[in-house]
Symmetry: C2
Subunit: 134 residues, 2 copies
């Protein structure tokens, strides 16, 4: 059973101390207790919980999402957790699709641009400057 200071917790999870306190302010992570001095103390449960937060964020969940996931996790509600993951996947796929659309536009323009010569012949500038077609 570990009994960690905020600095040790931060060090073990790779999360900044200020961020740990920020998560606390936002109701994501409470210390197990406090010393008489007011210093926060964290146990294994909080260590795991902070790792959970860090991993969920790495999977693209917002802090708001993480808050919901933590609740579902505590409720052990597997069905809702799966649905949340599916919703996040759909969200990520939409972002990818949008970026791919943009990528396609840029690629086309770059490929058509000689990179020298008159500005009027630059398809990139033309695309940004020309009249609407739609």
């Amino acid at each position: 059973m570990s009994n960690l200071s905020i600095g040790q917790l931060a060090q073990r999870t790779g999360v900044a101390i200020d961020t740990v306190r920020y998560y606390e302010r936002n109701g994501l992570l409470q210390p197990a207790g406090r010393l008489a001095s007011g210093y926060r103390r964290y146990g294994d449960a909080e260590l795991k919980r902070l790792r959970f937060i860090r991993r969920a964020k790495a999977l693209g969940f917002s802090l708001e999402d993480v808050r919901a996931l933590l609740t579902l996790s505590e409720e052990r509600n597997v069905a809702k957790v799966k649905r949340a993951a599916q919703a996040k996947l759909a969200d990520i796929e939409a972002r990818i699709a949008e970026l791919e659309r943009v990528r396609g536009g840029l690629r086309t323009l770059i490929a058509a641009c000689p990179g020298h010569g008159r500005a009027e012949a630059c398809p990139i500038l033309n695309a940004l400057t020309d009249e609407e077609t739609h």
Copy 2:
């Protein structure tokens, strides 16, 4: 030669009035002039410039990028414009790659999750909860 109020300019470009003034504060778009009343007046050049801004943003350029692009456009520096577009493309490709990485993680977890049963059997919760392996 059009001679537009800020409201007409906003309406023709699909940009909010407040946003037009925001762009002005940030040096992206100055009105052609002012009436005695102080009302802004815009001509064709500003209309085109605002469309340029809107399109560049649709291609993923930040306002900072747009500022640079507008300068390059005025300089008619085709080579630098092309390089800016290439840099932005690389940026977008990196974002896509990162999102694809996340998508892969989520897909794997979702596929392995039965969506019911014990929380301990849910790979999504396990992935968020388990000890590090690396």
